[in-house]
């Protein structure tokens, strides 16, 4: 590791006097379409800049864990997190607050979808999934992994490793739909909004794949802000950000997330998510 040390030393010498962050920076990964991220969220940055009166910048990230890292390292002060990544971030940054969530996120849900060949009949009671192949979405996804795994293990009373013949992590909700439709996996869990958008866009062939179970509601995406922003940007800054987010009415901006509006939220709303993550062993 002496290399790393040498380099960090060198880098520190070279870079220490460079720009010290005075811009308010945020990141967001939308749960549906991830194309044209910067083009879309630069508009959100512009809106925040107008309302907050400070320079605002958007940083694109690839994954929830990258978002959590950036938040923890104070490279971003505000982030649009999934339920689980928000919990992870707030545990790592004491004093940080969930300030707003999407209207839809108050009662979010997952759909379990199955290939037609499985002949599982859609039902309100939890289907018997023993022996099938199953795919989650991304490893860190709340609606594609955390909650589905919790419902599976609670309803079937076993560790999910012992239930399925094969478990996959497709990495993305759209991928989950594509893979179950292609029969790569027999059953999968997916964010309900992504499913409905795909259905509306004609990307789903209902003869091949359909919803077999809807999960109970749980809270999901939220805006989380660091606790030290008031010290950095002035007293009351955090409340100002909250008001600005909730006041976002432009449909074009909201469509980037995509949410119909933002409503207030607090850390307590996500206690259930944290408990589930602990129960599954995703956090200690």
């Amino acid at each position: 590791m002496s290399f790393v040390r040498l380099f960090t030393g060198l880098a520190l010498l070279l870079l220490a006097p460079s720009v010290i962050a005075t811009t308010f920076t945020f990141t967001a990964i939308p749960d549906e379409d991830e194309s044209q991220l910067r083009t879309r969220f630069d508009k959100v940055a512009l809106y925040l800049e107008e309302k907050l009166g400070v320079e605002v910048k958007y940083v694109p990230v690839k994954s929830y864990s990258a978002a959590v890292t950036a938040f923890r390292n104070n490279q971003v002060q505000l982030a649009w997190f999934g339920g689980l990544s928000g919990v992870q971030a707030r545990r790592l940054v004491p004093g940080s607050l969930a300030i707003a969530q999407g209207y839809e996120d108050q009662f979010f849900k997952s759909y379990f979808i199955a290939h037609a060949s499985t002949e599982i009949i859609p039902s309100d009671s939890f289907p018997n999934l023993n022996g099938y192949t199953f795919t989650y979405g991304s490893k860190n996804s709340t609606s594609g992994r955390l909650m589905p795994q919790f419902f599976i293990e609670r309803n079937l009373g076993k560790n999910s490793k012992d239930i399925f013949k094969r478990i996959g992590y497709s990495g993305d909700h759209s991928r989950t739909i594509a893979q179950v439709q292609a029969g790569v996996y027999q059953v999968g869990a997916v964010n309900y909004k992504v499913w409905e958008t795909a259905l509306a866009n004609g990307k789903v062939d209902l003869n091949k794949v359909s919803v077999i179970w809807e999960s109970p509601a749980y809270p999901d995406y939220q805006w989380t802000i660091r606790g030290d922003v008031d010290a950095q940007f002035g007293a009351g800054f955090s409340e100002k950000v909250t008001a600005t987010l909730i006041g976002m009415k432009d449909p074009e901006l909201l469509a980037s997330f995509p949410r119909q509006s933002f409503v207030p939220a607090e850390n307590l709303d996500y206690e259930a998510v944290e408990d589930v993550a602990k129960a599954i062993g995703l956090i200690d």
Binding site: L12, V19, S63, H115, K139, G183
Partner: protein, 516 residues
Amino acid sequence: MLGQVLKPSKQFSFVGYWKKVTLMLWAVTLVCFYFADTEIIALDPWSELLLIGQGFIAPDFFATEYLLQALWQTVSFALLGILIALILGAPLALVYHKPYVAAFCAFIRSIHEIFWALLFLQIFGLSPLTGILAIALPFAATFARVFSDILQQSPITTLQTLPHGTDRVSRYLYGRLAHVLVSVRAYVRYRFECALRSSAVLGFVGMPTLGFYLETAFRQGHYHQGAALLMLFIALIGTIPYWCRLKLLPFYFILAIWALPEIPNIDGALIWRFLSQDILPPMFQNQTFQSHGLQSSGMSGAEILSQFGDWLISLLSEQALPGIIATLLLAVAALGMSHIFALVASAISDKRLSGGVIAQTNRFLLLILRSVPEYIFAFVFMLLLGPSMLPAILALAIHNGALIAYLTVRHADNVAVSAHFNHKIDGYGYEVLPAIYPNMMALLFYRFEVILRETAILGMLGIATLGFYIDSNFAEIRFNGALVLMFVTALLNIAVDILSRRVLYSKNKGQLACAH
């Protein structure tokens, strides 16, 4: 043990050395295939494959935002990564004969760029430094090894003819460096191509290179965009000889440094936190906290140690061991397949055997196949064949087989044939193959190290190799676990490296210079 079997024995003297190596390789491959999970499961891939096909017929070059920036960033990370790698690696080559230097380099080299990037991401954040260093470190370690190999093989006769009393600098410059300059330059050029590929792949973990958009496009099913990006990527690599001229390099370097994205302030506290907290096993983290607060720690030293033991054992038995098994099965099966692919492909791309037009077409195909990242192959094969190990084996075999075939064909072109050459397969097997085979096998075994490293990327696609578990640990923000697994990966790579050297180096030491 392998070496002993391969030694020429009296009973089987009619079976040559290379026949034995080949048969052994195939036998081991078959065993791995038997134990590997190669079940074919896919009911209905055609509609998705049709969409992918449509994407390639009508690629959309305008769907990607900031495309030029991404292209330039890909080049710039590669350039700066190589530059730093040369600065670090060249001096190391001079002391590479010391065992601890060699071991240190082997360790650095054996960790994939993606994992270096994930690690640096914790320290430097989303900074260009993360991407550049992730390329520079493993490449520096590779340079050190290869340059030292090249130096060893260069003649020392010039040194002896220099006039008495020549100063050391001149002796070194004229007597040693002048001999190796050509091969060093050729090698650096080849590594630049590798660096470009690595730079693009770093986009998968969030660096702003082509891979950032490529991975998103394929993952989300935007195939028109994905196809366009893939074509651009292949074109970028295919046209290196045209735009990467020695004279232009200084200009590029200046441009690369000038156009670097803003480097965020580096926080020494982050580095310290990473080293003193994040990477420690959970029970030690608490310990540090408590001793700082001078509170009575709830646990005795023995308790902490036993907890640490439990933690380590469960990590090793639940993640490292299955990961090692899957990684080895996958890599060896892919190695055998690569061998067969390279053998067949280099034969059908030989002008003397299949005629000019067909050979040229095949060579062009090889160029494309070796340029496409394994990730994309695995992605498509997964739709076709289902989520077993088979898609990954095929992806690795095609990519690496094509690369070996490409280099072997170039070698074969320089092999002179006799006047009796009959332009048929027996003529090829009798005159050309024996000449090129040792070099091809050397390439193949060198690639094994690469294949082993590349299983990391496929792990991110969901195949349960060590890379999969490392990725999971990073996703769950468990850097301590990730670090232990990275260490295990490095040890595995080193062990395999030692073994493959035993099989090969003793036999044909002289031919490996061009093999890397």
